[in-house]
């Protein structure tokens, strides 16, 4: 815990927010005896296309639907698995056989009983076809998914796969009802509009353009939960209006990313307002600039290093992002497992050094196109700050603007020189990190692949070995990857991002797991 950022003092309670130890920040939100009842008003943005979590996994869908659907496991802020639909589990000594015992007495929201058949159908049939993340694990790592009895499921992997136990988070592997989906056209199933899950809240109403309403599941298997009677997820398309809606009391919770960070800093000073950075340990969003190493000078390592020295990353964090986040040292976020800065090249803001490197690289003053990320004003400002940094060291850069589908297409087709990106790390480098660096992932048509087209056989080998190595061997391999890439700079890492959650202080236990407001609100209560 090297550095604290003090955000505000609220009612005598000092909120300490630390990017490095976000686990600490959830503590002030707890305390007191949980109380039943009440309605919670939250803002999510944008309005999701659907609530069927097996088919749609974008942020807003997950924030709402993880109250409706559940997965086998949940994860605490240290990323340790906790029971959810799985009551307990056993892992074979060679780390290839996982046996899950399911909770008994679980029913779907339509009253039908839940059992091992639903789990096998979800993981082996439904999600294997339609889930963009699970299908990769299911098709590449899993040998079999079997029902042993009505409450026991056994999953066998082809080899030890380090991140397997992290793959059962609500949106990564939601369990969906077999009796509704088996044998149907999944995407056109009318039941997608009235989602049926096992979760603590039930779907009640979706007033398009306004809100989604969830109500308490009286038959929930975890007795005494949930505590809330109702949840309303409001859709307010304009960021400034969202902030005003919070200030006028229309909403209790602004989920991470729903207001611009400069507004978070302002709202944090309001009375009865708590801000936490917790609840993003699993995803650990990592922001960077992707250089397209196949485009001219960007293939030159010295030039990439020059750019890294030229960018004032502390300014980006302190001014553009209002002090939220942490400047990274490499590809792996310090919030997740296997992070190390041992023996890595470190880049401090150093325009003089950058100028030398620019000269040494043989750069001739050609204009470099920077594809801006259309995710709000903050990113736009950041691009402008970086343009200024580049100007100072003699690199000519031009900002290209587009909308989200345009960005996705351009990046998928490698049609850019530089671009921003930020990706979730999903708790384990084998899932969330390797994909941006390995040669096998240089595939057009995929914005989450290795779109910068960096290729280094040694890095490929280390990532491949680390994914299937026994747990104790993995750290060494990942430490080495971090050393090589910090020197090579396939990506220019800018920020370990924080997505602060703003809420009224009387909303308790809002963030208790490593996915925070993306997780079910079964423990949340209002004082």
């Amino acid at each position: 815990m090297s550095r604290f950022v003090r955000i505000g003092i609220v009612g005598g309670l000092t909120l300490m927010l630390a990017g490095a130890a976000a686990a600490q920040t959830t503590a002030p939100q707890g305390g007191g005896t949980p109380k039943k009842g009440g309605a919670l008003q939250l803002v999510v943005t944008p309005e999701p296309p659907g609530l069927m979590l097996g088919l749609t996994q974008n942020g807003p869908t997950q924030m709402i639907a993880s109250n409706i659907y559940e997965s086998l496991l949940r994860y605490d802020v240290k990323l340790n698995p906790m029971p959810s639909l799985a009551k307990s589990w056993e892992i074979s000594p060679d780390q290839t056989v996982y046996t899950f015992k399911l909770q008994d007495g679980v029913t779907w929201h339509d009253g039908k009983p839940f059992g091992a058949d639903d789990v096998v159908f979800s993981l082996d049939v439904f999600l294997r076809e339609v889930h963009p993340r699970w299908r990769q694990i299911a098709n590449n790592q899993v040998k079999s998914i079997e029902k042993l009895d009505d409450l026991t499921v056994r999953i066998t992997t082809k080899q030890p796969f380090g991140p397997f136990m992290l793959s059962q988070e609500a949106a990564s592997a939601p369990i969906i009802p077999k009796h509704i989906y088996a044998g149907t056209d999944y995407r056109a199933n009318p039941a997608n509009n009235t989602p049926i899950g096992t979760g603590p809240m039930k779907f009640a109403e979706w007033r398009k353009g306004s809100f989604v309403k969830l109500v308490r599941n009286e038959a929930y298997w975890d007795k005494g939960r949930p505590l809330l009677d109702e949840m309303y997820f409001q859709f307010i398309p304009d960021a400034a209006s969202r902030a005003v809606a919070y200030e006028t009391g229309k909403v209790d919770v602004l989920t991470g990313g729903s207001v611009e960070v400069f507004d978070v800093a302002r709202l944090a000073k309001l009375p009865n307002t708590c801000v936490t950075n917790g609840g993003w340990e699993m995803f650990a969003p990592h922001a960077w600039i992707t250089p397209n190493v196949k485009n001219g000078i960007l293939g030159n390592k010295q030039f990439r290093q020059a750019m890294m020295y030229a960018i004032d990353r502390d300014f980006g964090r302190d001014v553009i992002w209002s002090g939220y986040g942490k400047v990274p040292t490499g590809p792996i976020s310090s919030k997740t497992k296997f992070y190390s800065d041992q023996g890595v090249t470190k880049y401090t803001y150093d325009p003089a050094k950058a100028k030398e490197l620019v000269k040494a690289s043989g750069y001739k003053g050609e204009t470099i196109r920077f594809l801006s990320l259309p995710y709000g004003e903050t990113w736009q400002r950041w691009a402008e700050a970086i343009k200024q940094n580049f100007d100072d060291v003699g690199i000519k850069m031009e900002i290209v603007s587009t909308d989200v589908p345009g960005w996705t297409q351009k990046v998928s087709n490698f049609d850019f020189d530089l671009t921003f990106n930020f990706l979730y790390q999903y708790g384990d480098p084998a899932i969330g990190v390797a994909r941006s660096y390995v040669t096998s992932n240089i595939v057009k048509g995929n914005p989450f692949g290795n779109v910068g087209q960096y290729s280094n056989p040694e890095v490929d080998k280390l990532f491949a070995e680390a994914a299937v190595a026994p747990t104790e061997k993995r750290q060494d391999l990942y430490t080495k990857v971090q050393q090589i890439t910090a020197d090579d700079l396939p990506l220019l890492w800018l920020l370990e991002m924080d997505f602060p959650t703003v809420s009224r202080c009387n909303v308790k236990d809002l963030v208790t797991t490593s996915i925070g407001v993306n997780d079910s609100a079964k423990n949340v209560w209002k004082q």
Binding site: P49, G50, N58, P132, R187, Q234, V244, Y424, V443
Partner: protein, 325 residues
Amino acid sequence: MNLARFLASRLVKGVLVLMAIAIVNFALIRAAPGDPATVMAGEAGAADEAFVQQLRERFGLDRPILEQLGIYLKGVATLDLGFSYRQGRSVASLIADRLPATLLLTGTAFVISLALGMLLGALAARRVGRPADTAITVVALLFYATPLFWIALMSQIVFSLKLGLLPNVGYETIGANLSGGDRALDIAHHLVLPALTLGLFFTALYARMMRASMLEIAGADYVRTARAKGVAPGSLTRRHIARNAILPVVTLAGLQAGQIVGGAVLTETVFAWPGIGRLMFESLAQRDYQVLLGVFFVSSAMVVLFNLATDLTYRFVDPRIQMGA
């Protein structure tokens, strides 16, 4: 030319125009980069090529573009606007969901702006050059020139945040479970800011148009004649000037009325009003082709219809106008 033939010929032309618009819309949308499959893959946080391809096949985007156009036109011809796979609902039902809110907002703004605009314009014209005229002209110019979203945000900050008088966003109080008259009042309460914001812009437009038009007619020979034969000033303004000055305003009102169904993207966005304008804007950002085309089609059909209605209104307002197809 009699009314029936006029109507028939205009309707035929209208259908041709609509078909042409449908084709142009289809081409324009496809010219934008990206497609629904890449957007959905993008939102999922991960994707492989096979997955994106599977989505495209499911949406019918893998077929030749002309075949897709054919399927779309066939649907439009039978008034079937298609199915949004992204939202899992038929386009017609998505639009129908948003229609009441949009009609309420744009309709209210239309009535406010037309009534207020004509009144203020007439008032200014009667007192031309005097303080009342100057005041009306300046205020109208101000509202005409100020960006809508700025007025919208400022009105939220003043009336919701500082004064606490009006709700800043939404269609009704969420979670209040009101019904009947209480609900109507609650909705009306939420309607005030967006309707005024949207209405003021058009009020300014009508006021300026009405004033200019009235001043022009006030100088006409027949007005001087009427005044000379002793028509009272009030009656002169009402029957001789205003009645004739109203035509350009009707033209403008016809144009605005055509947009009633299209919604008001900016106002709906800033006030989180659940209308069609937002549906259209969000569909554009997500490349939800079917929904976007559906909204375009419905709005253009409305423009065609309202243009026809405007022409009919001309005849009612000014019997001298002949029906020419």
